[in-house]
């Protein structure tokens, strides 16, 4: 997957030792998922299946869960979202990145960490707040200028995922045509969990502008998208998520 994960933990939190232990476990989970699913690792379960070593019927419970999620969204997106690359090889990275980040977040929650912001390769899970009375402020990367965010969203107990043409990975094509996705420069989805947010960001990017309203209406999520021609599209209630600038109230 080739991602970088950071976790920002704020008080009140368990003891520093307990937090460090939870973080260690969370990183171990991410690393284990990468070993299992990476298409860049020749010895991953996915790569071995693609090499004809092994049978999908004998796949691990984790891979079966990921593929089931992918197949469900493939069906509801009319095939725009897919877990196979244009060559027909298995590539579940459109599911795994968010799913794995959410697993890490769930582990932290299970260890009593309540105020944290986890960022796995640009996919964010934000719980609680950075300080009393404030939500986590998530800048949405602008596809044209990394120095200025497209928008800043204030979120709490939510996940934010962004897909854009700048993104690494081979899952940003339209599964219906097998061609690179067109029409949108970036898509940001805010959802209760990162699995949903990341998968839908990928699906909307693949679907193009029509996907914005589709995701918002079908999955009750909030969507902020920028078209290739510079139009801003929104679905759901993005307005209520926009951070207020200036000094804290």
């Amino acid at each position: 997957m080739g991602t970088v994960m950071s976790v920002d933990v704020r008080p009140p939190a368990p003891s520093p030792e307990a937090v460090a232990d939870a973080l260690e476990q969370a990183f171990a989970l991410l690393a284990a998922d990468d070993r299992r699913f990476s298409t860049y690792r020749a010895d991953s379960e996915v790569s071995r299946l693609n090499a004809g070593l092994g049978d999908l019927a004998d796949a691990s419970p984790e891979l079966r869960e990921v593929l089931a999620l992918g197949h469900r969204l493939e069906a509801s997106s009319g095939g725009a979202f897919t877990c196979r690359d244009p060559a027909g090889l298995l590539d579940p990275s459109g599911v795994v990145k968010g799913w794995s980040g959410q697993r890490a977040a769930d582990l932290l929650l299970g260890r009593g960490v309540r105020n944290f912001c986890l960022n796995a390769g640009g996919d964010v899970v934000a719980h609680g707040g950075p300080e009393p009375g404030r939500d986590w402020h998530v800048g949405v990367r602008s596809p044209s200028d990394p120095s200025i965010p497209l928008a800043v969203l204030a979120v709490r107990d939510q996940a934010v995922a962004t897909s854009g043409g700048y993104e690494r990975g081979g899952h940003l094509w339209d599964g219906r045509s097998g061609e690179p996705a067109r029409g949108l420069a970036s898509v940001t989805v805010v959802a209760p969990d990162l699995t949903t947010a990341d998968m839908l960001a990928t699906a909307v990017y693949a679907l193009g502008p029509d996907g914005v309203a589709w995701a918002a209406e079908s999955f009750a999520v909030d969507v902020l998208a920028l078209t290739e021609s510079g139009e801003l599209l929104t679905g759901g209630d993005v307005r209520s998520l926009l951070a207020r600038s200036g000094p804290r109230a």
């Binding site: 080739g2 970088v4 520093p16 460090a20 990183f27 800048g139 949405v140 800043v152 700048y166 951070a243």
Partner: protein, 171 residues
């Protein structure tokens, strides 16, 4: 602005490159005067072992695992800071390079020497969003930011440059 520092906020920052094995897990305090602590896991490709956090038992680490109190003692004799420069890492947006200052077994500063400058194109926003919403989106751009969604390339380049700097001094 600095209120969260004054509150003695406990800050853990951990960075990991999932492309390769975790080989180090460092803990350091951001400033001696506060109880902040950060944990950095770094990622060169050679070996794998269970990362150890501050105060953890020493394990199979191939390098010495520094032991750091989460509340560093102000009376500790200051070690001489060393600043090393990381390699230039090419990202989608341009080169990223950092310098890292290490004092004793603590990272005391990371400075960006090169970051992508952007292409200077201002955004042309929204014909379909209402003018009011467009204004609110633009207004939100100047809000304080805790993290960035969609940051894959630059953050990865940053982590790689930090790691290369640490590798160069065997930290």
């Amino acid at each position: 602005m600095t209120s969260r520092k004054k509150q003695g906020a406990l800050l853990y920052l951990a960075i990991m490159g999932a492309t390769s094995a975790v080989v180090g897990f460092r803990a350091y305090a951001a400033e001696p005067a506060q109880s902040a602590a950060s944990v950095v896991a770094a990622n060169p490709a050679t070996t794998s072992h269970t990362p150890r956090a501050a105060g953890g038992s020493s394990g199979s680490s191939p390098r010495p695992t520094p032991s750091h109190p989460s509340r560093p003692k102000a009376s500790a004799a200051p070690a001489k800071p060393r600043t090393v420069t990381g390699k230039v890492v090419q990202t989608h947006y341009g080169p990223v390079q950092v310098s890292v200052t290490v004092t004793g077994t603590r990272i005391t500063d990371v400075a960006a020497l090169q970051t992508p400058s952007g292409d200077g194109h201002s955004m042309q926003l929204a014909r379909r969003a209402t003018p009011t919403l467009r204004q609110e989106v633009l207004a939100s751009q100047s809000a304080q930011i805790d993290t960035v969604s969609g940051a894959t390339y630059t953050s990865q380049g940053y982590a790689q440059s930090v790691q290369s700097a640490l590798d160069s001094i065997g930290f």
